[in-house]
Symmetry: D3
């Protein structure tokens, strides 16, 4: 008797069982961005991956930025686009546009895609339920870069309330006590959310293969490293990897069990990371 | 012995008691717009009024549009602004901009103001938790006006869930089953929400004194009228009053106890309407 | 356009907002007595004030005595009325009559008035649900004054259970382990209840303007004082102010945030104290 | 081997098992009065019986009057005691005294006794939580007998709330919408409470052996009868048995499964009736 | 860039998503038996399949018999093994042995295997929590076959209570009101449980490929059929397929949405049936 | 007037009241065995006693072994029955048979009897819900006695979950992490369960009158003793009393308030011990 063709396929479901067991009931924060957010095929896969996570009993929280969309709108409006040390110089008008794009466009696109794949999502930003309280951040060199914020406080009530029945999707903007809005780095926001929630894991989707020992050699991925080792190396790191590694350190020091930098260009990178032994990218762990 | 100066003032708190009793535990949907949303002083008062409603045990739900802000951004982007029979002709780009403005700017401004007055708010749009399912609407004359939608279905789960701990603020946009977004008239959205929730009351804030018997005479306000009487008169009504009265009829026929058109230019018009006998504007009631 | 006459009045509702915010969800114990209990107009106002407190989310607990009514019945029955150091000399018959008057007349009058103003109340005494366990108290000079009791233990279960849905009204009588009933000073009972519940505030309604620096000068009210300062002065204080101040000290030392002696002859003194800056009477606070 | 002396005694516990099974989780209303309330030994036994009922999972509700105590106080106050057709003629002063005696003395005596036997009780009257709404009743002959009331409405919320954790003890007085208090016949009150609660059983403690076929022959007890048979005989019945039988009919017609008139002079008559086959007194049942 | 080898495998997880969505929160009853229970490899797979079902939010209930193990013990004890019309002739001794084998051996083996794969199971039989009330069944020809029972009543309380936190595993034995135990056909038990629970699906694991149009042709599997069609054909069906089809009819008529006869010899037949389009075996559906 | 014959009997119910009060809401673990399990009359009485305990608000947990039944089946199967130091030498086949007898016969007989007396029971063994994790135990002399286990861990979740609505009946078998089953001494199991649950009392039913000062004198029962005194005497004690006393010590040291060895041959020994002063058997208490 020949088994039906799909028996082998169903078997792969069971290979995920030990991982499903591990993550069942756990909170996993996902910093969403890069190709996984811009490539039409990858972003559908991302939504399906998140929905599957919810179905198998994981509590996924999506945190996102949206720099390219902001820049595109700035250019349509003939406004200058300027960065200092990787931070967008933000006058009031820039922040208003950034917030509209992140909250009113990028966030709802993610919400709609997750909805369509079968689990209802709810979009939030730092203003909703006082989720983030922000404060002005200075640029490394001390320049005035305007309304660029850091997170002073995360009030997790609204997240845990919404996450009971929905997948929360969080846009990384927030306001200070006086109601002024700020651009917030989405890696930093994801790290802060993971820390405040006592999440089990935080994952940063990027467009590189991980943290490279030799930035010029894409094969030199560091697959596992302690937070202390990252902290020691941080002064030598520049570019987009720096806020990611910094957020990893923060999360681990705040009690998160693991922080992973994942290559979002790989289809199903979330599921590969969660449900297989195939370590993709760089995992930051507490000191042993 | 002379009583302190404020005794008389405190007494006015108690004049509100019979009304507080009536509305305690009840859901009141508020269509927010007009001067109450644009005038800086009035919008602070609006936020305080809504916060007070929550504190005295009412369940307020705010629904809003934001036409002037949308038009302003359309103009900044050198895009044509066109209306047919009061409906904004909306190609994909227009809807995207409208949604960004409503959800990412207007909605969060309201949320932040309510937060600052002491009750946390959460902003939602029709996409969140599948709140609205929209469908394309035709213009009265049959012209193609693009992505202008009507509400086919309201899923109140997300609203009742959020309203347990927060004041929900709803931007009137929504998507169809395929994920296409639509502009939705905010009066219609408020009426649909009130009906779906079985609200006790729905209030429409406007910039006129109510429904006028003689449109040229601002003193000719009709203070009370049945839904059937409004329905009979509807074919003769044009302009912005039409969708409001139409939403009143829908709400009343769907079981809402009263629908009121309120002059939002009057400070504290919400509280005056709820907590005093001073009928302001036009109240639509079921047939006796 | 002239705003309706009542706009100003509604504005006063909003002046109470910061105070409503402060007291929302908090337990406030009110020792009820004096003119506020005997004057027909004041006692209606008292009931309305308490009902309003409940509606705006405060948890009010009323504790009362009723000396004048007891004396009146004693006299109708031709029984001797005798006091030692302000304590009613109480043989078994006196206690039985006092208990009947307090529990069966005064308490139910309060309950009915609160009911009529729109929130259901439930009357309790120290016997119900073992609320108070009393023990015999000696007069300061050591005379036998009979069944005058002090509170050894407060079992708050019945109060918190009843307060979920009702306004509890507590008559200050109680029994010992053997079932003997005792007169209990109502100020002491209110202080003990506030302490046992970890109340936010306890208020004592009196017929004076507060604690006077110079008892002969009604203008010499001490508006704010620490519990330690009161304790130091206590040996020099006599009359009805003594048990009130003593109960204030007990409450503050037991964790209550503030204890206030309020002039109950002023209409709405409860609301004035809670909802305005007009400090009326004397507030006892913890040492700073 | 000789079993210990108490083996036989413990065996009798088990004889109650089938009855405990039947009544477990059921509400039983007990009209308390007569010798069981005045005889010192019997009233201790009553309290123990009720406490045992609670321990074995029954939900007992005690309803009581207290005519003899009221009369005694009326006489101490030199007030006239007058009855018309078994109803106490009640001016305002009489009602005030009756209420004080019932609520402040009789009720709390019962509460304290039940407390002492190991289950906390809470005393209530018709005013508490709006339990009874009363209306003036006319005497059969139409005479004005003053504030004698009948029950128009029972609001069971407060009873079911209190009965979760306590044994409710209800004094049969109540007020009308305007706050006027009334004497209410306790048999009638017990029947109304049983009916409103959908009780399983209502028991009336009396000082006779039951309903007698021949009033002059104490051996002529009718042990079981249908409500219809009682109704047919009612016009021929006078005296204290009439309101009891009338309350039985009301209860049965309102859905109570059985109504029993029990000889309260017999020690443990409650337990005998509930837990043995020894039918004591008269049981009224629905028509078969 | 080459994706890791396992990307394709993870993709198959997502192919199950539409099915996981369909079955999430649903109760699925599984009649376990045949090769899937005797083959060492298949029974491990079965346990993993059931555990995975639980992890993805399905509520699986396992019902089992164990004929071969019973026969083996009968033979070890030199007892006669006799069947009439497929029913085991069962004197008291036979039933006692059958019950010991099913409840004390087969059931606990299943429980232990499910435990080891990561979800705790609890074994039950018809006696536990009065799950089944059985009655004696006659053989088709009227012979006395002893203690062979049919299920008169299923009390689902214990199942729903246990299923909140555990996977229930039910051995198909039960007792009558007098405490006599009976052998019960496990197919019948599974159908009765599915019906009583209002299950979404009931699956019968067998050692054939389904219901064959031509019993001699294993390729002639009927893949889908209505309950009415099965009912019409039932008189012509003999052997082990008959009780299965009969149980399918009962389940469908009792409101279960689908009943499936599945080839348990195929590895992961449960998951294949639930999570793929590869219809294996015969599905009985309600009439369209 | 002569009271009915049963008045005296009902009175004995009330003699139990102080004890019912003491044990209400408490967990009592009962090791069931000996004559109380084999004598037909005694085992009916046992079931009634346990049901009565449940009805009066006690939480009874029954733990049992079943040596004689196991031996009987071993002999029917011509298998050798061998003991070393009171422990049954157990190869795999012996354990399988023991488990079948305990779980599939003895346990369900107890469950059915308790069911019939009016409270539903649920039978469990150490496998269900991972209740016991066992490990191999060595005989005192170091001989290999096979699959005789000791309890390493009790997971009380399944017991407390089941005990909410049912009387749990636990057979003393369990498995290790690899799924190997073990015979476990039932006295040890009862002690471990009592300790893990923080039970109020554990009772061991035996066929002797208690712990005898002089084993040859049945009148020399030690009625009360501290755990420390027992521990000191333990090395001198042999036979079946040893595991019982050892389990008593364990329970007391683990926080159980009292451990009692009860003569199960006395009818209603459970109730006599719980509900009368007639101390029967030996009570082990913590050091004073």
């Amino acid at each position: 008797m020949t088994p039906p063709a799909s028996t082998r396929d169903v078997g792969t479901l069971l290979e995920a069982l030990p991982y499903i067991r591990e993550f069942h009931g756990k909170t996993v924060v996902i910093k969403y961005g890069g190709a996984a957010m811009t490539d039409p095929a990858l972003r559908e896969e991302f939504a399906r991956d998140v929905v599957l996570m919810k179905y198998v009993g994981i509590n996924p929280i999506v945190v996102h930025g949206g720099g390219p969309d902001i820049t595109a709108y700035m250019e349509r409006l003939d406004l200058p686009v300027e960065f200092v040390a990787g931070l967008r110089v933000s006058d009031r008008d820039t922040v208003e546009i950034a917030k509209m794009v992140l909250v009113g466009k990028v966030n709802k696109d993610i919400v709609l895609r997750i909805n369509r794949h079968g689990q209802p999502a709810v979009g939030l930003c730092g203003d909703d339920g006082l989720l983030f309280r922000a404060a002005r951040k200075s640029a490394p060199g001390g320049e005035d870069i305007g309304y660029v914020g850091q997170i002073e406080r995360v009030d997790t009530d609204v997240l845990t309330h919404v996450a009971q029945d929905y997948i929360p999707v969080v846009a990384s903007v927030g306001a200070d006590r006086d109601g002024n809005s700020y651009n917030i780095n989405a890696d930093e926001a994801a790290g802060a959310v993971a820390r405040a929630l006592g999440a089990y894991k935080v994952m940063f989707l990027t467009d590189v293969r991980g943290w490279l020992r030799d930035p010029s050699d894409p094969e030199s991925v560091i697959t596992e490293v302690t937070a202390d080792e990252v902290e020691a190396a941080l002064p030598t790191i520049a570019g987009g990897m720096r806020p990611k590694l910094s957020a990893c350190i923060d999360a681990i020091h705040g009690g998160v069990s693991s922080a992973v930098i994942v290559d979002g260009r790989v289809p199903h990178s979330l599921l590969l990371e969660l449900f297989t032994d195939a370590g993709i990218g760089t995992m930051v762990k507490p000191a042993p």
